[in-house]
């Protein structure tokens, strides 16, 4: 049974804690490891190491820093399949999904190697007679990420490569539910030869989180998780004067217009709602047929959902894995119960699914409610599982109203063959990641990732060009030599 360790100052070390959490395999329901609930003192050790490493790293030329990332990319390519399989084992998603996640992790490393372009400032001569002005981007110090369970490989790397290549030093706190993946990633990183203290990892839960949020020497925090926690992180960083980008939860609406190509788009819709067993902040959650498309869409969508192969994600060809934990499964089952109590019509019930050879796994089959009213909990709250709520509307305006009234604003998707409708949708919908004839509007590393309203707290989103602004201070230098 593996007990994961922290990685501080270039060494694998035990935590000071006596408290450990269990790590589970969601497909088998078996305990596969233990994770330390690191203390504030563990966090402090990582911060001190990162602080000590900062100045020398900050003075290392950007291109030299980028070369570490080039080496790291190759190490990640070598470890690719192993990382992907570790991820499936502890998180539950399918091998394809897992490989896709690792790919996106590496893409961020690749994008960050462009630091010599991404980090440049700007200048203007003669802002007044004989006076020149330059704006230079400088690193700031120690940054950290507090990561969620659903993308254990990728999410820390939405931030880390950019922070580090810009000259900052870094601390990763993986989700305590899925600590093995990042541990495997750090084993590869350990071979890369980064100077000691530049990149550190501290496992843990609440105490480690607060240890980071309230540490005076951490300059900025990136967070991804539930909205309530995102709000808490945002507030704490405000109190302690930290930079913060805090990405929260979602309730994503997928509108299907009567002119949409249903047959062509069913695979895309299925991926949107059931990819990663619905445990992603970009998953479709509410399916919104407009007008008379409802009957055909429902029939075809239900048939496709029924045909999904649910099982252990390690088996090639499985299309949907289990949810992450027993506790999370119970929460999702609670929502299904709530939907029934509120009067929605259960047209596909995934509660009783049995996966051969995996009777203790945390599986829930594809589930679909029809006749869902916008006021029902299943239409408003984040379920984060393979449960679809169908809310019918008469026209696009009504669909846009649903999005507007939601407390979240992460993603929204539209299926149509009309450019005019698509334009109106992307123009008016209050969500930050939009999909047109695409069910997973996932910005790649070179575009920003983050939502609106209750889905995002902060100013600068994850990755993309802008993220370099988060990890640097723009120093303005005004000079007169004449």
């Amino acid at each position: 049974m593996k007990r994961v360790k922290n990685f501080i100052n270039g060494a694998w070390v035990d935590s000071d804690t006596k408290e450990y959490g269990d790590v589970w395999c969601p497909a088998t329901g078996e305990k596969i490891g233990e994770v330390p609930f690191s203390t504030a003192s563990d966090v402090d050790k990582a911060v001190q190491a990162a602080k000590k490493a900062y100045w020398e790293w900050r003075c290392t030329p950007p291109l030299s820093r980028a070369r570490y990332l080039f080496r790291l990319k190759n190490l990640f390519e070598d470890a690719f399949e192993d990382i992907a399989r570790t991820l499936v084992t502890e998180e539950g998603k399918t091998l394809d999904e897992s490989r896709g996640e690792v790919r996106r992790m590496i893409e961020n490393v690749e994008h960050a190697t462009g630091v010599t372009t991404l980090m440049t400032g700007y200048n203007l001569e003669d802002i007044a007679q004989g006076i020149d002005c330059t704006a230079e981007r400088q690193p700031i110090g120690v940054f950290g990420v507090i990561a969620p369970f659903n993308f254990p490989a990728m999410v820390p790397w939405w931030f880390l490569p950019y922070a580090v290549v810009a000259g900052n030093t870094y601390i990763v706190k993986p989700s305590e539910q899925v600590p093995m993946t990042q541990t495997r990633i750090f084993e590869a990183l350990d071979e890369c030869g980064f100077p000691e203290g530049v990149i550190n990892m501290v496992h843990g839960a609440r105490e480690a989180v607060n240890g980071m949020l309230y540490h005076p020497d951490i300059k900025g925090i990136s967070f991804v998780g539930q909205s309530a926690t995102a709000r808490y992180v945002y507030k704490a960083c405000g109190e302690t004067g930290k930079r913060v980008q805090s990405l929260g939860g979602a309730k994503n609406f997928v509108i299907v217009m009567p002119d949409a190509e249903i047959d062509r788009n069913i695979p895309s819709l299925i991926t949107s709602f059931y990819g990663c067993a619905g445990e992603r902040c970009l998953s479709g959650s509410v399916l919104v047929p407009v007008g008379d498309v409802h009957k055909e869409l429902r029939e075809k969508f239900v048939a496709a959902a029924k045909a999904l192969r649910v099982g252990n994600g390690l088996q090639e060809g499985i299309q949907m894995g289990p949810v992450v934990s027993k506790k999370h499964k119970e929460k999702i089952l609670g929502y299904i119960e709530k939907g029934l109590q509120e009067g929605a019509k259960l047209v596909l019930d995934g509660r009783s699914i049995k996966v051969e050879g995996h009777l203790n796994g945390f599986f829930i089959g594809p589930t679909i409610f029809d006749d869902v009213h916008p006021d029902m909990a299943i239409a408003k709250e984040e379920i984060f599982g393979p449960v679809v709520s169908i809310v019918r509307v008469k026209n696009l305006d009504e669909g846009l109203k649903l999005i507007e009234n939601s407390e979240y604003g992460n993603a929204a998707c539209l299926y149509t063959t009309s450019g005019k409708t698509a334009r109106e949708f992307k123009y008016r919908a209050v969500a930050s990641m939009m999909g047109i004839n695409l069910g997973i509007a996932a910005p790649m590393s070179f575009f920003p990732f983050g939502g609106a309203k209750g889905s995002f707290f902060g100013d600068i989103k994850g990755h993309g060009r802008e993220v370099l602004q988060f990890f640097t201070d723009t120093k303005v230098v005004i000079q007169r030599w004449t």
Binding site: E77, F80, E81, T94, L95, D96, E97, R99, G100, E101, R103, R104, P267, S268, I270, T271, G275, A304, A307, L308, R309, E316, G317, I318, Q319, L438, I440, A442
Partner: protein, 148 residues
């Protein structure tokens, strides 16, 4: 078994080239004509390279955003049973090699039309087209070499 995911297709693509390489290794030891022996060694070497190519293609092209279910590609359609096929002399061996090449060509051609990723489809098409060339070479070997 239906190959309904990107991973399943890539996994089978890896299997099919590995199986073909193994089959060629078996044929090499039986071949008597040095030209045929070399040709089979080249084909086995090609399949060895293709195994790495399939692994790299899967790793570099898996696109998480569009992992959509794939339909209409069935593993059963590419099963080749060589048990009843005679392998007594070099002429027989060429025939077996042609069966193997035909199978690989057909799979990669069919799969290239199913995978929604241009880079992967291009790689598959290239592998399939190379089989066409190989079939031509084997055919000419059969016609022009005295394979006794």
């Amino acid at each position: 078994m239906t190959l309904s995911t990107f991973g399943a297709i890539m996994g089978y693509a890896g299997d099919i080239v590995k199986q073909t390489e193994e089959a060629y290794q078996g044929l090499i030891s039986k071949a008597k004509n040095p030209t045929l022996k070399q040709a089979l060694q080249d084909l086995a070497g090609e399949e060895k390279k293709n195994q790495s190519l399939m692994e790299r293609t899967r790793r570099e092209n898996v696109t998480e955003m569009i992992l959509e279910p794939i339909t209409g590609l069935h593993q059963e359609e590419y099963i080749v049973d060589l048990k009843g096929v005679p392998q007594k002399d070099d002429t027989d061996l060429v025939k077996v090699a042609m069966i193997l090449e035909e199978r690989v060509k057909r799979f990669f051609s069919d799969a290239s039309a199913k995978v929604p990723l241009p880079e992967v489809a291009r790689t598959f098409r290239k592998v399939s087209q190379k089989r066409e060339e190989n079939l031509g070479k084997l055919q000419s070997l059969r016609l022009h070499q005295p394979l006794k």
